[in-house]
Structures are given as C-alpha cells and as structure tokens.
C-alpha cells in the first residue's frame, strides 16, 4: 500500500499512459471550472429572474445560445450568443471530447484482448475525437 501514497513527482510521469492518466484528472477539474464559469456568467446576464433551474443547468453544461432559447423570459439573446461564449463553449467541447474519448479507449482496452485490436481502436478513437470536435464546433459557431 505504501507505493500508492507516493506523491505525483515521486511516481514519475514519463510515459504516454501516465500523462493521459493525469490529463483525465486535470481535464475533469477544467470542466468543473468551465461549468462554474458558465453558471456565473448566466447569473450575471440575468438568469436569476429569467430562467428556471433546468434552463440554467442546460446552459452551464454547454453555454450555447440554443440552450437558452426555450427559456421564455429572457428578453435579449444577443449577450448569450456572443463570440466570448462561443469560444468558451468550444473550449468546453474540446476538453470534454478529449476526456470522453480517452475514457472510451480505456474501456475498450479492458475488453479488446488482442494488441492489434487495441491499436485499431486507438486509431479510430483519434479520428472520432477530431470528427466530433469539428462537428460540435460547427454547431456551436453557426447557432
């Protein structure tokens, strides 16, 4: 058990898998920060009196203007569809997709018995990740 309690520095992070292990944790923290940031932004833009909790959460998890359109009491959608929020939304999309696709690779690694199969899954995951980030960025940018 003693080995599990080594600090990050003592454990060393020299290989790709260890770096992705750290990335998974740090990207989780980044997502908490971005979601909190979008939540505070919504409150600053008047969500306290204009939106239900469900609408605020929908915006917080992905600050895209289409997630506010169903809130009937928001008078002006312009501040919600600014470049600032589009960039924030794409940042959250990119971090979440990278985190999620790496998670899928970890699961696939557990169930694909052959080394070649794991390599194919890894290659497909990179294509899938780039494709989903591109598709999501188009949706956010043109909404």
């Amino acid at each position: 058990m003693a080995q599990r309690k080594l600090s990050l520095k003592q454990r060393g992070l020299m290989n790709f898998e260890a770096q992705m292990w750290l990335f998974t944790r740090l990207s989780a923290l980044a997502m908490y920060a971005l979601i909190l940031f979008a939540l505070i932004g919504a409150l600053v833009m008047g969500a306290r009196n204009q939106m239900s909790l469900a609408d605020v959460m929908r915006w917080a998890f992905m600050p895209n203007v289409t997630h506010v359109q169903s809130a009937p009491d928001v008078p002006d959608l312009a501040p919600w569809s600014s470049i600032f929020w589009k960039v924030t939304a794409i940042a959250l999309l990119a971090v979440a997709t990278a985190h999620g696709v790496h998670g899928l690779v970890v699961i696939a690694d557990d169930y694909i018995a052959s080394a070649g199969g794991r390599k194919v899954a890894r290659l497909l995951s990179i294509i899938f990740m780039l494709g989903m980030i591109a598709a999501g960025a188009i949706v956010i940018w043109t909404s």
Partner: protein, 124 residues
C-alpha cells in the same frame, strides 16, 4: 507488463471486486451514457431535419432525463472523489469514508431531481 490483462470478455464481465467495484462500474455506465448522448445530440444538431426532431423527442422524455442526470451527476461526483484522492495520494487512507461522503452528496441531489422530473412526467 507485470499485469496479465489478456483475459476473455466473459471473464472480464464476471469480475466482482470488493468495495469500490460498484463505483467503478457506475462510473463506466455514466461515462458511456454521456458519450452516447452527446454524440447523438451533436450529430442531430448538425444534421437537423426530421432525424433531429425525432431524437429531440427521445431526450425530452422524463425517463431518459432521469437516466442521463444519473450519468452526469454520478460521473461528476465520483470523478471529483477520484481526482482529489489521486492528486493528494495521502488521502487514499480515507477512501472508504470518501465513498460514503460521495453517496451522501449524490443521494439527496439525485433523489430531489428524480422527484421533480417524475412528478412533471406523471403530469403534476
């Protein structure tokens, strides 16, 4: 590779470890649920049209909303526990207690959401 990991799928599925196994498998189910939902959601937004309307109707359903909220909330709270314990390894001594704290956060929040979603879903 000191770890033998080329076991068959059926052996992998039959594995039942001690404490933490439930969190492990629920974390995976939550992650897979979110990955599927977000993929479908992004693609339907991109494609639009009749497929988009059809898919929207699925995730506006209250049963689906309870499922996806479970995925998001459990994955987020369990992920926070994993992140904190992994980045501050000294805390690993208290991981059993951490799991209890985690359930103490998860159950009331999720219970409240299920109550609201189900009462709206049942027409209340």
């Amino acid at each position: 590779m000191g770890l033998k990991r080329d076991v068959s799928l059926s052996t992998g599925l039959r594995y039942k470890g001690p404490a933490g196994y439930l969190n492990f498998i629920l974390h995976r189910i939550g992650g897979l649920g979110m990955a599927t939902f977000i993929t479908v959601h992004i693609l339907s937004s991109l494609l639009g049209g009749e497929i988009g309307v059809f898919l929207n109707r699925i995730y506006e359903n209250w049963v689906f909303q309870i499922f996806i909220f479970f995925c998001v909330l459990f994955h987020a709270i369990n992920g926070l526990r994993i992140t904190i314990l992994d980045l501050y390894p000294k805390l690993l001594e208290h991981q059993t207690e951490a799991v209890w704290v985690q359930w103490a956060f998860f159950l009331p929040i999720f219970g409240m959401a299920v109550f609201v979603l189900a009462s709206i879903g049942a027409g209340g």
